[in-house]
């Protein structure tokens, strides 16, 4: 799966869970500062991403995933 495909998959999840416009989702965007994803919604995003991409994202890794790009890199490395 390419980085663009992972980004598009995350955009789908972010729209479903937090109402984020998919056009706003890009690797450089911060989940909290740019996309307004609050802590509870981030939990939903992580669980949905695990399901969608078939990966495990432990809670202690989530705090390192500040941007969409961080998440894409983590998922790319795991899958």
């Amino acid at each position: 799966m390419t980085r663009d495909e992972i980004t598009a998959g995350l955009a789908e999840i972010l729209e479903e869970v937090a109402g984020v416009n998919p056009d706003d989702v890009a690797e450089g965007k911060s989940f909290t500062d740019d996309l307004d994803v609050d802590s509870l919604s981030m939990v939903e995003v992580v669980v949905a991403a695990e399901e969608k991409f078939g990966v495990k994202i432990p809670d202690n890794e989530v705090q390192n995933l500040k941007t969409v790009g961080d998440a894409v890199s983590y998922i790319e490395a795991q899958s």
């Binding site: 869970v17 109402g19 939903e44």
Partner: protein, 408 residues
């Protein structure tokens, strides 16, 4: 010490009769029933297959992402509270948030969320349980959400007294303003538990009507053919305001919340006291608190839920507490029983009865019980000048709440 007067300056509701106060009131005056057959698949196995569902789906009012984080009882409390807030004109009045309070309760709370998340837990494990579960199911959730969105900082309260909750929440709002803790309180009740478990529970108590073939005729307070209440869902919210505060900003005032009486039976967990002793004391306290005479109360919006015992106990209590002059109605005949929101919706009906000089009907009163010895606006609305009126609410647990509203 001079008494602080409290008035009602805003109304909001979403009910089985309409998505707002105006449509709900129109439906009441027209004598329409909000009760219908439950068409969900799960209803088939239940002894009770009727309910009064919301006329307007919250999903058509609130956006999808917001609804994901709200129990239905929270969503409809927010809808009704925003209506009441807009109606009051306070949004642009420069109210200090530290003088704004909230008092909104629910009889049962977020039970539907609890049950839905338990299904997920059982089917998919704990990691799939929504992180929004706790704020969705907590009983203070509706009050907290309204407080958050209106930025209320004078205290957010959520009383729970079963079917008296909506009225008790309004009484608490009155206390808050009288005690000087707030100038404005957004008060009322909300309930949304049309789900097989609560229905099965009430049905096991033999408290609900099983007139499944005639939904619109199932809620029939004081009628000989009544066989239990019909579950409804909805929210009713009023804006209570210190009278001089309302006057200073030139607010439109619906009515005065003149007094409240709250008592507890100390008798049985679900049965009302047979002579209505607690209800009689609540009504007497409310009248005394309002500083009106029994004879001034010309109308009562009764609790009357369409149960065999409760309806007649209230008649006995009203005769003792007030006499034989008031004109009664039971709007639950149309709305069904909104449990924790009932006292709030019926307060709104009482307030509009005062404003419009018209008593909404008690529908389905075709064959009155022999014990019905008071005048009821049966089957059609009745013109009546109402300078002062009483709203009764009683709840499982022996809670009795009486509110007196008067014309300003």
């Amino acid at each position: 010490m001079s008494r602080i007067d409290v008035v009602v300056t805003g109304l909001g509701a979403t009910t089985p009769l309409g998505g707002d106060v105006a449509s709900t009131w129109d439906a009441m005056l027209a004598g329409r029933s909000g009760v219908g057959a439950l068409t969900q698949e799960w209803a088939g196995q239940l002894p009770v297959r009727i309910a009064a569902e919301l006329a307007v789906d919250p999903a058509t009012v609130l956006d999808r992402v917001k609804l994901r984080r709200l129990d239905r009882s929270e969503a409809i409390a927010l809808i009704a509270a925003h209506q009441a807030w807009a109606d009051s004109g306070l949004a642009d009045a420069g109210l200090d948030p530290e003088r704004l309070g909230v008092s909104i309760g629910s009889g049962i709370g977020g039970a539907v969320t609890l049950l839905a998340q338990d299904d997920i837990l059982e089917a998919s494990g704990p990691r799939r349980v929504s992180p929004h579960t706790v704020p969705m199911l907590m009983p203070n959730g509706p009050a907290a959400w309204v407080g958050l969105e209106l930025r209320a900082q004078a205290g957010v309260h959520s009383v729970a007294s079963a079917c008296a909750t909506g009225a008790e929440a309004i009484a608490l709002g009155l206390d808050m303003i009288r005690a000087g803790r707030a100038d404005v309180v957004v008060a009322g009740g909300t309930e949304a538990v049309i789900h097989p478990l609560p229905i099965a529970g009430f049905a096991s108590m033999r408290a609900m009507s099983t007139r499944n073939d005639e939904p619109e005729r199932a809620s029939r307070p004081w009628d000989k053919g009544r066989d239990g209440f019909v579950l409804g869902e909805g929210s009713g919210i009023v804006v209570l305001e210190r009278a001089d505060h309302a006057a200073a900003r030139g607010a439109r005032v619906y009515a005065r919340l003149a007094g409240a009486g709250i008592t507890s039976d100390g008798y049985d967990i679900v049965q009302p006291h047979p002579e209505g002793a607690g209800a009689i004391r609540a009504i007497a306290k409310a009248i005394s608190d309002a500083d009106v005479a029994k004879s001034d109360i010309v109308h009562v919006n009764a609790h009357a839920t369409s149960t065999p015992v409760g309806d007649m106990a209230e008649i006995t209590a009203l005769r003792t507490a007030l006499g034989d002059h008031p004109v009664l109605t039971a709007t639950k005949s149309m709305s069904g029983h909104l449990l924790g929101a009932a006292g709030a919706l019926e307060s709104i009906a009482t307030i509009l009865t005062i404003r419009d000089s018209v008593v909404p009907p008690t529908i389905n009163l075709d064959d009155p019980d022999d014990g019905l010895t008071l005048d009821v606006a049966a089957n059609k609305a009745r013109q009546l000048d109402v300078p002062a009126a009483l709203n009764n609410s009683f709840g499982f647990g022996g809670h009795n709440v009486a509110l007196v509203f008067t014309r300003v």
